[in-house]
Subunit: 232 residues, 2 copies
C-alpha cells in the first residue's frame, strides 16, 4: 500500500464519531421504563425484532428507532403502557437527535493530514439524512470531505453505484470503517480495499456470526495507524 | 427557450407522482381518531405546529410525520389518548409507507420522450431517503434519470451545491416542480430556470403567502406542456 494514491472512503458512526453508545444508553433507559413488563434482555430482544421487521420501510436511523420503541412498548405491555412512558420514549429519541458530536481520538488530526497531502476523502454513511447532516455540520470535519454520500444501505450494489457516480476504479478506493458487515465485506467483494477499525461495541445488526466471507483486509487499533499504512 | 439544451431537474412528490393526497387522507383519519378531544380544524393546527417544531430534527417525510402525530395525540389529550389509538396512528403511517406509487398523467410519456431526445434528467426531491428510493423503484421511471438527489432541504444553497456537484451552470438548468417555495423561487434566485406545474393541493408548509419574490417563471397546466416549451 502507499504507492498509488487511494481515494479514501470513511464510514461515520463509530468510525469518526461516537454513535452506538447513544443507542445503547437509549435502549437501557427504554428497558428501565418497561421493566414492569419484562426483563431487560427480553425487552431488548423484542425491540430488535421490531426494528428488523420495520427496517425495510423505516431504514436506518433514530426516527425509525423511536417508532420501533413506541411500537414495542405498546405490544409488550398489551397496550397497557402509560401515556407518560410513551411521552418519555419520544423524549429519549429527541435527546438522541440533539446529542453533541464527539469525534473519536485522532480523527481530526488524521483527516487534516490526509487532506493536506492531497488525498480525496469521501464520507460514506448510513442513517437518517437530516441527522447525519446535522452531525457532520457540528463535527468540524465537514470541509475535509470532497463528497458526502448518505446511503440507505451498504451493499455491494450500493458501493458500485457510489464508485460509478464518483468515476472511481474499485482498486483505487480504500474504505475505512468499524463494521465488517457494512464497511469491509461488500467493499472487498467488489474488488476495492478496506481497513477495519473495530469500535468497542457493535450493533447486533452489524455483527458477523462465524468466520464467513472474511477476505483479505487489515485491522487497525485506531485511525492514527492509517497514516502508517499510507506511509505518511 | 428551447435553443440550448437544458439539463432538466424534476421534483418528485406531486410533480411526478401523487403524495400530498396521502398525507391529507392520513391527517383526516388522525383527526377522526382524536375527535373526542377537539375539532378537526384545531387538531390539524396543533399537528402542523408540532411538525414545524420538529422539522429541524426530523426533517421532511413520513417517519417524522408519524412521530409528530403521536406527540400531538399525547399533548392534545393531556396524555389520555388510548393506547389503541396510538397503535392506529402507527398503522396509518405504515400504510402510507406501503402505498402504491401513482404517476401523474403524462409523466411517463414525457420523461420517455425527453430521455430519448438526449436530455439529461435529474430528480431533485425532499423527503425520507428510504421512502423516496422505494417510490422511485416502484415508479418504473427510475431509469430515465441520470442522477437522483434526495435533499434535506431545497434552499438556494442546496441548489447551488447540487449544480456544483453536477458541474452545471445555473443558466443551463431548468427545474420543474409543483412548489413555488421549494422548486421555483430558490431556483430563480440562483440564476437558473424554473417551470411551475401546480398540483391541486399543497401542503401548508409549502404555501407562499402574498406576492413576494415571484420572479419570472412559466406556469403550465400539466407536464405534457413541457414538450411545447422545449419545442419538442
Amino acid at each position: 500500500m502507499g504507492k498509488e494514491k487511494y481515494v479514501l472512503g470513511f464510514d461515520a458512526d463509530d468510525t469518526l464519531w461516537v454513535n452506538e453508545v447513544y443507542y445503547q444508553e437509549a435502549e437501557h433507559e427504554f428497558c428501565r421504563l418497561l421493566s414492569v413488563y419484562n426483563s431487560a434482555e427480553e425487552i431488548s430482544e423484542k425491540l430488535f425484532n421490531t426494528e428488523m421487521q420495520n427496517l425495510k420501510i423505516y431504514g436506518f436511523g433514530t426516527k425509525g428507532f423511536m417508532l420501533s420503541m413506541i411500537e414495542t412498548a405498546l405490544k409488550l405491555s398489551k397496550q397497557e403502557v402509560s401515556q407518560k412512558v410513551l411521552d418519555n420514549i419520544i423524549q429519549i429519541g429527541k435527546n438522541m437527535l440533539n446529542k453533541p458530536v464527539v469525534l473519536l481520538e485522532g480523527v481530526k488530526n488524521v483527516l487534516e493530514i490526509l487532506s493536506s497531502r492531497g488525498y480525496r476523502l469521501i464520507l460514506a454513511t448510513k442513517g437518517d439524512m437530516i441527522d447525519q447532516q446535522r452531525k457532520l455540520k457540528m463535527s468540524g470535519i465537514e470541509t475535509f470531505f470532497d463528497h458526502i454520500e448518505i446511503m440507505s444501505n451498504k451493499s455491494e450494489a450500493d458501493y458500485l453505484k457510489l464508485l460509478s457516480h464518483l468515476n472511481l476504479k474499485a482498486n483505487n478506493f480504500l474504505m475505512t470503517g468499524n463494521s465488517v458487515k457494512s464497511d469491509i465485506i461488500p467493499v472487498i467483494n467488489i474488488g476495492a480495499n478496506a481497513i477495519h477499525i473495530p469500535y468497542h461495541t457493535t450493533w447486533q445488526h452489524e455483527e458477523i456470526k462465524g468466520n464467513n466471507a472474511l477476505g483479505n483486509f487489515k485491522t487497525l487499533n485506531n485511525i492514527s495507524e492509517l497514516l502508517d499504512i499510507l506511509d505518511l
